[in-house]
Every structure is written in C-alpha cells, then in structure tokens.
Chain length 136, copies 2
DNA sequence: TATTGTTATACTCTATAACTATA
DNA sequence: TATAGTTATAGAGTATAACAATA
C-alpha cells in the first residue's frame, strides 16, 4: 500500500521532471531556474529558498545571481534583520513565470486528456492536501 | 481547471524532488544517480536512458561511467547491433535500489500520511495515466 | 556565540559540436 | 548516409569549509 503510493509519487516525479526539463529548454532556462521562478511566491530569504529547493544555501547565491543578472528577480533587504536578503520576482520574472505555468499546464493536459470531470474537480482537493502536508 | 491539475502535479514534483535529494545524500549519491538506479528496469540502451532521464545522450556516458566505477551497474553489448550498449544493474546496484525505494516509501508515508484513502487512490491513477501517456 | 549570506574549491550535470565505429 | 556512443568544452548545480557582517 505504502509502496504503491510511493511508486506513484516517484512516477509522477520522474515524468514531471522530464516535462520541466523540456519546458526549461524552450525558455532557455535550466530546470533549477524554472523551479525557482515557479516556487517563488512569498518573498523567501535565500536560506528559505534553499530549503524550498532542497539544496545547500551556498548554491542559492549563484543561482539568484544569474537570475538577477537576467532581470527576472531581485534581492531586497529585510526590514528587521540586516543579514537577510529576500528574493522577489521582477515584472519580467512574473510574466515569464506565467508563460511557464501555462506551458506546463498544456503539457499536463495533453497527458491527462482522458480524465473525467469529477476527477478534474478532485484535483483541487489533492493539490490542497499535498501542499498543506508539505508545510507542516 | 487545467491549471489546478497542473499545479497539483507541480507540487507533487517539487516535494518529491526535495525528498529524493535528501535520500540521495543519505546514500552518498546525487539526485540523478538515484534516478538512474530507480528507473533502470528494462536494460535500456544509453540513448534510451537519456530519453528516460530527459537529458542529452552525451551526459549519460559520464553518469554511467561513474556508477559503473562504483560497481552499481554495468554496460553489456547488444546482441544484434554492435553500436549499442545496454545498461544493467549489478547485484550491488539492485540491493542499493531496494534500500532507496524502501527509504523513499518511508518518507512518502511520513510526508503524505495525511492524505485520505481516496486521495491516495487518485495519486496512483494519476501515475498510471501519466506513465501510459508517456510511453505512447 | 550563533546565524545569514558569501567566497573558494572540487565534483557532477548539462548541452553543443565534432569524432568513431558501426549500420 | 544515418545512428549509437564517445570526447572536448563551457556553463550551471552541488556540498564542504572558511569567512564577514549582523544578531
């Protein structure tokens, strides 16, 4: 039972990773850069961003540098703690993120065309359940 | 509606990626090496492995080299086409893959334990739909 | 003293182009 | 001619250790 769920998640992960890799190439980004743009919703600090990405904080410096150099995001000083930088999307970054999300949705829809209305309606609940489980 | 489905898949992907990255570190592997070990079921050629991973074939040479050097997999000549090498897990590789899968199942159970039976069932159906769509 | 972000280092992953050996 | 795998190269992601600024 647990193995079934795990292998389902593993399969979804692998397929989504391939999808994201292809989309990243279309937009001349790397997979990680695509992840950062899409996961960047609440002005995280660089350390928090490292946690979101599941990598070491030392990597985040360079990744943010490169995206900042392309004008897609920016560092902003934290108001309370002067050690902290917070990462925000620029207008160009937000626009690109929307194009990426739309493209990803197209690719997913292509693969899930046979889902029923009920199944699609269920997706809202699934997404909510997974993200609330992740934030605990 | 399509966006809901896509964001559910995106969330599952991101959570699974973080999980895999952590597990890879536990086993002193990279995320990609972990993916290769887990995705290596049907003696793929190196080119097929590139497709499975969603990357260029030129990367596969080095990744297979490193895993072969660690005794986790091996190249075997194709019987019909002498240009082709097929990749197989060694005994040590199969053993490690089982330990990774078990560990991943533990993490998924921990992480997604709050999902209802209905939600878990839907995850499995999504995975089945995605992998059959992917193999077309 | 502890934490945040940075730098330096070494290794891995990534795509492009050019090559070889087979087909 | 075309294809499978390799090599060379350059850029990007990765973790470890050491550091400056701030808490």
């Amino acid at each position: 039972m647990t193995q079934d769920l795990a292998s389902a998640v593993a399969t979804l992960h692998r397929e989504a990773a391939v999808l994201y890799a292809g989309i990243a190439r279309e937009f001349e980004l790397t997979s990680q850069q695509t992840q950062i743009l899409c996961a960047l919703s609440q002005r995280p600090s660089l350390g928090e961003l490292a946690t979101i990405l599941g990598c070491d904080k030392t990597n985040v410096t360079g990744m943010v540098d490169r995206l900042e150099k392309r004008g897609l995001l920016a560092r902003e000083p934290d108001e309370k703690d002067r050690r902290v930088s917070r990462v925000v999307l620029t207008e160009a970054g937000e626009e690109l993120r929307e194009r990426i999300r739309t493209r990803f949705a197209e690719c997913v829809a292509e693969r899930f065309g046979a889902l029923s209305v009920e199944e699609r309606a269920f997706c809202r609940r699934l997404a909510a359940a997974v993200s609330s489980a992740g934030s605990r």
